[in-house]
């Protein structure tokens, strides 16, 4: 059997244009997941400076309590909200909630019931909520 090559590789995985908003949510879920994991590990390292005493802690705070630090934290807030809300949508979908009844694919092969407006709406809502949470986070951090 001829070996099939993965022609597009990671570029194919990252291309959000071909399959609509569901595909966009798929890669955004993974991208936010990786971002949050990176932040989580950095947060563990960052908070560990407390065991070195007050001076080390204050020095670390000086690094993070900057405009850039606040913007990164706002991005983390946005990523967390999107990842959470979209994750709940995925869990409900895998549990059969909101995906419609399965049916035989007959001609003229309309869209499958799973690709319905309920889930699309949830994706848009998760993006909107993430944006709102980011704005709220920026407001708290910058004290505007």
């Amino acid at each position: 059997m001829e070996k099939q090559t993965n022609r597009e590789g990671i570029k194919g995985w990252l291309n959000p244009t071909r399959y609509g908003i569901e595909r966009f949510a798929y890669w955004l879920m993974r991208l936010t997941g990786l971002g949050l994991l990176a932040y989580f590990v950095a947060h563990i390292i960052e908070t560990s400076t407390i065991v070195d005493g007050k001076d080390a802690w204050d020095k670390m705070l000086e690094l993070t309590q900057t405009t850039e630090g606040h913007i990164i934290l706002a991005l983390v807030i946005g990523m967390s909200v999107f990842h959470t809300v979209n994750g709940i949508r995925v869990m409900l979908g895998q549990g059969g909630i909101g995906v419609g009844k399965p049916g035989r694919p007959d001609y003229p092969y309309n869209k499958p019931a799973s690709l319905n407006n309920k889930h699309k709406l949830c994706i848009y809502a998760s993006i909107g909520l993430a944006a709102l949470a980011m704005l709220y986070g920026l407001q708290v951090m910058f004290g505007v």
Binding site: W13, G33, F40, I50, V51, W57, Q65, T84, G87
Partner: protein, 114 residues
């Protein structure tokens, strides 16, 4: 372990982490954000046993969820017996390292050895 069981753990840890991280964030909002990050305030948080336990549980839940998520992403990109084993054991090792390192901070700060 069956992949279906792993996914149930993945979803369970996600739901648990969401609830507990919400409490963790609310703790930061009980006072001014900058004040809550003062050395004395953070140490007081660590010395409060229920909060220290909450941090430990969050650490374990997010480590399991995060590194299993990374494993899933890496397995979607490429497959193969050796590769899959390397990814699985690599993620377990990284998860254990993060849990041990984070627990060390919680333990030292919580016992007041700072």
């Amino acid at each position: 372990m069956r992949e279906s069981v792993v996914m149930k753990i993945h979803y369970g840890t996600a739901l648990g982490a969401v609830a507990l991280v919400a409490i963790h964030i609310l703790f930061r909002m009980t006072q001014n954000f900058a004040d809550s990050l003062e050395f004395e305030s953070v140490i007081a948080n660590y010395e409060f046993l229920p909060y220290a336990l909450l941090l430990e549980v969050i650490l374990v839940l997010i480590s399991i969820h995060g590194f299993n998520g990374l494993r899933v992403i890496l397995l979607e990109l490429r497959q193969g017996r050796t590769y899959e084993k390397a990814v699985t054991y690599g993620c377990i090792a990284a998860m254990a390292a993060v849990i041990i390192y984070g627990s060390r901070t919680i333990l030292i700060a919580g016992m007041g050895i700072v």
